[in-house]
């Protein structure tokens, strides 16, 4: 979550802010780099000793190291501001990843994703609303869980919280549930994908459709392969692009009940909520398609995107605190878990259905 760097407080001068971010940034880099070193050392050891060791990607190591720190000794306060920047690196990484997509691929895969996303949105909203009612959660918490699970986890919940005038506890419930479930799916998805023998494209599309938080969807895709990571990012970005529309629909619904502020200018609202990094991604992809970069430049830009993701994955582990989850209560978690499992199964069905149109 980016709350660490966004929380209220006295506004610090730019150099002070930078100094405050440094320890956390160094920790992100150290953990990400350690993950890469572990991956390379295991591979080198296997090669030297002629052992067939499983290739575990740096992504998983970085997340595991982060999870262990966050859930045992905890993250000391001095690091928190810097760790909060991982969302920035995630978005920058996605924009830079645009260099690896030709616009035609974006249109083709984006088109398939869009159909799949439309189905996923409908299914998630109906399922979560039904579950929330069945477990008698407050209607606004149910709305937040439905928005979080259908679009984009944390950012969608934060965007919706203000728009539908929801309580702080409800937003933290929903955020904690989405984050904990995302962490669990990081481990479960690759196992299920391998058991089913999914292709890179099919697995990537599934991760992008079913995992709610962008960082975790990106990590789950990259855990499988870099190609799957690219597809997961594209599918997830398509979902993110719908954020404004879904939040607007919910805001109008709650406003008609007199429980949220009326939205006067809908176009401005949509633009405000639209994730701008999606535009950056399309812009870079357009430039790459038009041949703006040489091969070396394109590979440098793609490498920069990998470094940005390295910091992101370390941040994902460090920001997932399962103890926080326990404090949040049992029912929202059950609703979240049952809903997410249902969404994972249904989106897997969608992926298998569209598989004939995906590249092998």
């Amino acid at each position: 979550m980016s709350l660490a760097i966004t929380a209220d407080g006295p506004r610090l001068s730019l150099p002070r802010r930078f100094v405050e971010l440094l320890p956390g940034l160094a920790l992100l880099f150290a953990i990400g780099f350690a993950g890469k070193l572990i991956e390379q050392s295991i591979n080198a050891y296997g090669k030297a000793n002629h052992l067939a060791l499983p290739n575990i990607e740096y992504v998983l190591w970085a997340i595991i190291i982060g999870l262990i720190i966050a859930n045992t000794v905890g993250v000391p306060k001095i690091f928190r501001a810097g760790i909060g920047t991982y969302e920035f690196f995630l978005k920058a990484g996605i924009v830079l990843l645009g260099v690896r997509f030709l616009l035609g691929d974006v249109a083709k895969l984006g088109g398939i994703s869009l159909v799949a996303v439309a189905l996923e949105l409908g299914i998630s909203i109906v399922l979560m609303t039904w579950l929330g009612n069945a477990f008698r959660l407050t209607p606004k918490l149910t709305s937040l869980l439905a928005i979080g699970s259908s679009i984009c986890g944390v950012s969608a919940i934060i965007a919706a919280k203000g728009a539908i005038n929801a309580k702080d506890e409800d937003a933290s419930y929903a955020i904690a549930a989405i984050l904990a479930l995302g962490a669990i799916s990081l481990f479960a998805f690759p196992l299920i994908g391998h058991a089913l023998g999914l292709s890179d494209h099919a697995y990537g599309l599934w991760a992008g459709l079913a995992i709610d938080n962008t960082a975790e969807a990106t990590a789950a895709g990259n855990l499988w392969s870099e190609q799957a990571g690219k597809i997961a990012v594209l599918a997830k970005t398509t979902r993110n692009a719908t954020i404004g529309f879904v939040v607007l629909a919910y805001a109008i619904y709650w406003a008609t009940k007199g429980e949220a502020r009326t939205i006067e200018n809908k176009a401005a609202f949509l633009w405000n909520k639209f994730p701008k990094f999606v535009l950056g991604f399309i812009l870079i992809s357009l430039a790459a398609t038009l041949g703006a970069f040489t091969k070396e430049q394109a590979s440098d830009i793609a490498n920069l995107s990998r470094w940005a993701f390295l910091l992101t994955f370390a941040g994902v582990g460090l920001s997932t605190d399962f103890r926080e989850m326990r404090k949040q209560g049992f029912y929202p978690f059950v609703v979240g878990a049952v809903g997410e499992i249902g969404i994972a199964i249904l989106t897997l069905g969608i992926v298998i259905a569209v598989q004939p149109w995906l590249p092998a």
Partner: protein
């Protein structure tokens, strides 16, 4: 759906740097990096 319903005022946003600002920063920083790479000012990025 009508937009004229009487409404409660929403609380002032507690987040001073919302996702919108983070987004804009991410795009601006990426474009700057790319400009530096294309101009040959930024050193080659190994992976």
């Amino acid at each position: 759906m009508s937009d004229t319903t009487e409404t409660k005022p929403a609380p002032a946003p507690r987040l001073s740097l919302d996702t919108f600002a983070l987004d804009t920063w991410a795009v601006a920083a990426s474009v700057l990096f790319i400009a530096l790479i294309v101009a040959g000012i930024f050193p080659r990025v190994p992976w």
